[in-house]
Assembly symmetry: C2
């Protein structure tokens, strides 16, 4: 069986778990602690980052970018009516990729990095330390701005990038779900973003993520609740 090396609260890993499930690909999960720089992980991905997808046959595919595009490249052959990470024509595909770029990098650097990496990964890392409160405050401020943008997109479109669900929705939901686990998302103040997230959260692909537990971190009360 194919294998995915991941960490339960790594947003990049989560986005790929969702994409694999939407594509109907079953995988075994190998939990990694990226701060340990495990030799076996470095052999699969010299950058030492997650996720890494090891297909049944062929070389490992490292990183959410290469994996999501691999799923796009193989979607048609797998199931022409199945999930396509980058659906539509050139303009629609470019829009989905613009948003994935925004979420996996801008949102990550301005929010996830402050609120998840700072709170969880830093605690286990080699330079173990308490969260930097200044950084967390910045993360909270930035999150509000990004939730407004998500809401803005969903008020004019069915899904973030257009009429059909794309990898952009899965990537955004992945980051928000990691934040939600930690109780960091003020959903009540961002109704349009909340409505969109409820849609993604209720998909069967999301169920395994809602069962994740990380030692030392209890999920927020609303984390598993589909009617949050």
């Amino acid at each position: 069986m194919a294998n995915l090396h991941h960490h339960p609260l790594c947003a990049f890993s989560r986005s790929i778990r969702l994409a694999l499930a939407e594509c109907g690909l079953e995988v075994a999960l190998t939990e990694e602690k990226p701060w340990e720089w495990r030799q076996e992980l470095l052999a699969l991905n010299p950058a030492g980052t997650l996720p890494v997808f090891v297909p049944d046959e062929g070389a490992p595919i490292a990183g959410s970018y290469a994996i999501s595009e691999y799923l796009g490249d193989t979607a048609e052959a797998r199931d022409p009516r199945g999930f396509q990470p980058f659906p539509g024509g050139l303009a629609e595909r470019a829009e989905a990729r613009r948003l994935v770029d925004w979420i996996h990098h801008k949102f990550h650097d301005e929010v996830t990095d402050y609120l998840v990496v700072e709170k969880v990964f830093r605690r286990f890392g080699p330079q173990s330390a308490s969260p930097d409160m200044e950084a967390m405050r910045a993360g909270h401020d930035n999150l509000r701005y990004h939730l407004t943008y998500v809401g803005h997109l969903t008020e004019t479109r069915s899904w973030l990038a257009g009429d059909v669900m794309s990898f952009a929705d899965l990537a955004a939901a992945a980051h928000l779900s990691a934040l939600d686990y930690l109780g960091e998302v003020p959903w009540e103040e961002f109704e349009p973003a909340k409505n969109w997230y409820a849609l993604v959260k209720s998909r069967p692909s999301f169920r395994p993520l809602l069962q994740d537990r990380v030692a030392g971190f209890t999920p927020s009360e609303t984390y598993t609740n589909l009617d949050f």
Copy 2:
């Protein structure tokens, strides 16, 4: 004519200028100062980042990720024998994308961000400041590690990702060329990386980049020299 919004020392912009030229696509260039948050740029790309490609027809395409994949999606129709940013089968495409990810993000965060953004963009930005010497030292150390990895790749392959040139080569050369403009690359100590860079640098697509000049920053002595 199609248009590219860019900044001469933005490595992401440079990678796309090279890719457009390799694809035989002529574009007009519009120079942006991203630290000014110009309304017209934000209308093209709400993230305010570069580059943005405005094709002859159709919507603008924002960011090096979406643009490079757009060039991949359209390569076959444009010229089946022309440049393909992500050439080969599934494994080769995944390898090129892994390396683009590494260069545009890991290399960027660990080197370019310290040595170019810190030195050039920070000077013009709203919080104009002198370079942070600690950050620059870290950037120099990290650069040596990355140049070793580039050399390692080129000792077993013709190009970074395999037998043919891909967008991974253009992305890596783009970052290194911005650093080279500022005289930050210790080429003499990294012969294999230097030999690979000399190959990319001598391509016709590279010529316009060698003519770039940024006010306040004189290019290094070897910047335009093909026999550096």
